[in-house]
Symmetry: C2
Subunit: 205 residues, 2 copies
């Protein structure tokens, strides 16, 4: 029996665009996909649960994971580490299941080097003013961090060109519907369907 690898979907976008919120909502709506959980050394925000939103790690623990090559990608970002545990992603794909990674722009580009066949979705704010608001009103950050984030966000927006799709996050349910269409369409790519049909054609014709 022919077995196909799962789809690797990477959801990314500039700081403050709402990747986490969109991904949480997608998680409720799209149950037939596996969600990769990132590791981070940053402090949990209100409502975030260890092992669901992130694996919260100490700096020492994270550096141990780096040393042992346990991360598919990792980056330091505003003084914190973020990374994707490798084994879970690799095993899920081998099992033929689709997996989604919600990660920072730097990390996404590293994943693209390893998985150029992945589907890279770039979340964009409806306007730059809106992005500023979102970073500002998140309220968890000091003024210095806000400034640093805005500057990074500007650079990150330029990274859209390395992605396959661009989805405006005007309203979360709309953004999620768009991402669901992308997942559906990618599953309908001829290259994914053809191997099954070739089997079928051999049997029936």
């Amino acid at each position: 029996m022919f077995k196909q690898k799962g789809l690797l979907i990477v959801l990314s976008g500039p700081s403050g665009v709402g990747k986490g919120t969109v991904c949480s909502y997608l998680r409720e709506k799209q149950k037939d996909i596996i969600y990769s959980v990132s590791a981070t050394t940053r402090k949990p925000r209100v409502g975030e649960v260890d092992g669901v939103n992130y694996f919260f790690k100490t700096k020492d623990e994270f550096e141990e994971m780096i040393k042992k090559d346990q991360l598919l990608e990792w980056a330091e970002y505003c003084g914190n580490y973020y990374g994707t545990p490798r084994t879970f992603v690799e095993e899920t794909l081998e099992e033929g299941k689709d997996i989604i990674l919600e990660i920072e722009v730097q990390g996404a580009l590293k994943v693209k080097e390893k998985y150029p066949e992945g589907i890279f979705v770039f979340l964009i704010p409806p306007s730059f003013a809106e992005l500023k608001n979102r970073i500002f009103y998140r309220g968890t950050e000091t003024e210095d961090i806000i400034k640093s984030r805005m500057s990074i966000a500007k650079d990150e927006l330029q990274m859209m060109k390395y992605y396959d799709y661009a989805v405006v996050n005007d309203e979360v349910p709309n953004a999620v519907k768009r991402i669901q269409s992308i997942i559906e369409a990618e599953r309908l790519r001829k290259d994914r369907i053809l191997p099954y049909y070739e089997q079928w054609l051999k049997e029936e014709l």
Copy 2:
């Protein structure tokens, strides 16, 4: 102001798979897309309307269109001509509107030569037995025509490899939803969004 060409979407598939039914239903559900109307010399089926389902032509009229290069593609199929009027398609795309062509497999491959950037969707039956049923029970054809259609359908199914997407027509509303996801996803391709955002980045950063 930057203006982008529309998407050219080609919906095709083997004889009897239900292209016409799927396209009629899509037409009701997806109003923001233009539907190209083919020309044909075959007789109208019950419920088909001239200028909506097809432009019904005599053999002489059709051959005149061929001579005047008024067709984007045309083919002879079971003793009848089928073709796509050229000007309407070209003008719609230039206006930046998306257009869908529901055409036979032969014709689709000709369109692909001219528009390799088009989106080619191949409709497939849920099984070969089902395809046989559909051709048989359409009831408008003689036995010879049915045999000829089945033989052509077998060859046509092999053409899936030239397409971008494959959509199973198990139930018409399902097939239409899948096609709508493909249209949505293709509209979200980074190459379509980037030019607008480059403008936006220039203004705001």
